[in-house]
Amino acid sequence: MGDTKHISQSASVVDPDRIDRSCRWPVVLLFTGAMSWLIIGLTMGLFSSIKMHAPGFWAQCEWVSYGRLRPAFMDAVLYGFAAQAALGCSLWMISRLSRVELRLSGIAGIGALALNAGVAFGVLQVLAGQTTGFTWMEIPRQGASIIVGGYALVALSALYTLHKREEKQLYVSVWFLLAGLLVFPWLMSLAYMLAVVEPLRGVMQAVVNAYFVNGMTYLWLTSMAMAVAYYLLPKVTGKPLRSHDSALLCFWTLVVFGGWSGLSLMADGPLPRWLLGVGVGAKWLIIVPAAAFTMDCLYTWFAGKTSANEGVAWPYVLFGSLSFPIFVLLDILSTIGPAPRTLLFTTYSQGILHFAVFGFAGLLFMGAIAHIWERILGGRFPKRLPFIAHLLLSLLGIVLISGSYLLGGVSVGGKLADPSVAFTAASSTMTLFIRSATTGYLALLLGQIILAVALLKSFATNTATIRAEFFQWCCGGRSPGSDKKARARA
């Protein structure tokens, strides 16, 4: 049931080139926005990390104090980078897998612009001190509404395209994309409703926040990244997916357990123990989708002869997919037995989150951006070197950041568990780890700049045609003339 099999049979339906061209502008818009926000976000992350070992650094400036810069960094990365990268991939993958041209591409474009405006507005609001005070929901309701609205417009275009599909068989990526497209607006509106607009009383606000953070990680981000992985795996290996059934097992177990595990983030918090137990139990069960996914990846990758490892995306897919089981295991480990006693409230959880956002989802999205960018702009990247550099720097950055936070959490947590060690004595060991995290942010940021330059360069090689077509798209859709011109070029 792999997607590759079908393409050869029914290639006559719609020319993939036409599909690619139909997605071009909304996807280029989304990916450009995504890379820009990733760079802006990582710059803020780097600054916030520097401020930890140099508290005097820019201390007079209220807007960049640690408590504002840090949430602004995470929000820019989540809503600016991850959301836009995921949406760009969805538009393209849904058109390709449905074998139709993208519908409502103008609406998708407007949605992308709105999303960017919302993130910009929201990040400024956070820096100005209007944060809501809830993790990952720091952006106040105005900015958040624009973000949800923009996201919904892009999702509408994707869903309408799916509705008009020619290919009746749903490939498993589409399942994950459906989840990702629907869960984001739902989680955002629900969580803002219950914690910000009409807040529930007392500790329930924290419960809603925990549900949101957990849902965004396991339901939204993971679904989107898995859609990419399941799509690209057969592409980069040239082999069909091992088993459709195990992919579906992965899907259903993920959407069930991924939501229930929300309360595990409140570990040892001010709630009855049995409730926390439910959350932790659900989190352990995420081992099931993780195992199914890992088996699919390993089998597809290593069994049989790999025919086509060309293209730039394959190492991203390899490292990105294999990050998922590591991420899940690290997360589960921190809830087993006595582990929370030392690891809770340390930077360990930060290490996990960075690993999930940059290592697992981030690498997969970056690989997909490179893969899709080539196709929608009709031209292979002339050089591999920037991508190798980007990959190496990103891997270095992720290992340094996550590694320092994880090890720092274990080491400081171990000291704090002993009440005879003074707090400052324990926390001063953290400085060393924060320094190496700073180096990690720097490497990650450099890598992204290299990738952005490589993407821009390939964009600039045929600016004249692209500009003409872009204006045509802005002035009311794709005229037949532009299609002909583009085909002549190709």
Binding site: H53, P55, A59, Q60, C61, S65, Y66, G67, R68, P71, Q130, T132, G133, F134, T135, K168, L170, L178, V183, W186, L194, V196, P199, G202, V203, M204, Q205, A206, V207, A210, N214, G215, L219, V255, V256, G258, G259, W260, G262, L263, G269, P270, L271, P272, L275, V278, R341, L344, F345, T347, S349, L416, A417, P419, F423, T424, S427, S428, T431, I434
Partner: protein, 219 residues
Amino acid sequence: MNQVPLVFLGLVAAVAGSFYGAIFLPHHAVGRAELEYVDDTGAYYPAPRNGLAQQGAEVYRAQGCVECHTQQVRPKTLGSDVARGWGRRRTIAQDYAQDNPVQLGSLRLGPDLTNVGKRQPSSLSNLRHLYNPRLVVKESYMPRYEYLFFKRKLEANEKPSLNALPADTEAGYEVTPKPQALALVAYLQSLSADVPLFSAPLPVAVTNQVKAPSLTQKP
């Protein structure tokens, strides 16, 4: 077969189920927690914050102090919070009934602040610590909140005004707190979850103490 509606319905069911488990059940268990009448203090707990402290809570939120500080004490058997003196009992849902937004926090880059109002009762030392934490704790990496203070260079032989921080805060300068700093300190002083509750009693019960411990007592 058209599978999209199937996937859609399955998704809605899964997500609705998780909503039930992760939000409705807890709401059922703790969301309706009422204020509790405490015999020992003769008042309902928790009491609402006074105006200045409530403004300070807004400053606390706006500055993102929650990025580094938690406000929750774990049970004695789980971690060293009680042994460290961050609280004499664990915190339970009731302690947060008057907070909005609830700033539970999930990362302890700094100490827990649940009971900091009892631990650090002095306004002056709190203000000095906010202005420059390294004046109080040499190796602290807490950010300096200089911008919550007015800072003016003193003329030769000029005396700083009465509400200025002590002269050793910043030599040659007059440092006076802005209203936000005063509100923030009032909020910090209001932080305390130290009243014995039915489901979270204080360990002092064995001494047959009847009155609530005085607010200045060291934990």
